[in-house]
């Protein structure tokens, strides 16, 4: 069980992705997947800073069926929430400074992706990626 990482600045984003890469290495992910995991963490961490100002990221090892090993990444904030989740998951859609690639891109890069958001209450993104 990993400690939650507080995310509220650019330096926190860097620290979170470095932690993620380290854990991915320990879990036996390939070089490419370590970078993919770090990149995904960077995207969701930036969403926290940009839209909610503050939140946290939790990283932990997970076990799947048939002895599968993986990493779980949870990004949670109590920010404004996402008004239209369907739109937010579309490539090119952004209400912020982004390219609108973060969430749909992150979803493509992991094996399991879930997003819960309620207006005024915040957003939780949960992702899993398995060691191949």
């Amino acid at each position: 069980m990993e400690l939650p990482l507080t995310i509220s600045s650019g330096a926190d984003i860097v620290a979170a992705r470095q932690q993620g890469r380290k854990l991915a290495l320990q879990l036996g992910f390939s070089d490419v997947d370590q970078i993919v995991i770090a990149t995904v963490i960077s995207e969701v961490a930036r969403n926290i800073v940009e839209y909610a100002k503050q939140g946290e990221i939790r990283l932990r090892p997970v076990a799947g069926s048939a002895g599968k090993k993986g990493i779980m990444i949870v990004a949670e904030d109590r920010g404004p929430g996402i008004t239209d989740l369907v739109q937010a998951m579309q490539v090119g859609y952004s209400t912020g400074r982004g390219l609108g690639l973060g969430l749909p891109g992150a979803k493509r890069m992991v094996d399991e992706f879930d997003i819960q958001s309620s207006q005024g209450k915040g957003t939780i993104v949960t992702m899993k990626k398995w060691v191949e």
Partner: protein
């Protein structure tokens, strides 16, 4: 950490030494746009060899750097994108558009020297 920018003849070389935060990337953009004028440089090379993550913000900033430098009358070459980073960028759907790239610093310099040899 502020990225050191070396002046090498007509070129500027921004040699990234460690992971960069968003703020560091924006600082690099501003430093390059200013120095390309101050040193009357014809091109800037941005060496990203040590970057293990090029996410949407990094890619957007690199594109902005290249466009700003072009507006200042100079060229930009991005060198050293690692294979794993290239893979992640493609998966995320990130492109550098028309920004010039080269394998490493040596190739980047060769590219610029070739460009300047106008018939």
């Amino acid at each position: 950490m502020r990225v050191p920018i070396l002046k090498q003849g007509d070129y500027l070389i921004a040699s990234i030494q460690s992971a960069l935060s968003d703020e560091d990337l924006l600082q690099l953009r501003d430093d390059l746009a200013e120095q390309v004028g101050r040193f009357r440089s014809r091109a800037a090379i941005v060496d990203v060899t040590v970057l293990d993550v090029m996410d949407s913000f990094a890619v957007r900033t690199v594109r902005a750097i290249a466009h700003m430098i072009r507006l200042r009358g100079a060229e930009t070459v991005i060198v050293g994108i690692q294979p794993e980073v290239a893979f992640s960028m493609v998966q995320l759907g990130l492109t550098l558009g028309d920004v010039a790239t080269a394998l490493d610093l040596e190739e980047g310099l060769a590219y610029l020297n070739e460009q300047s040899r106008v018939p």
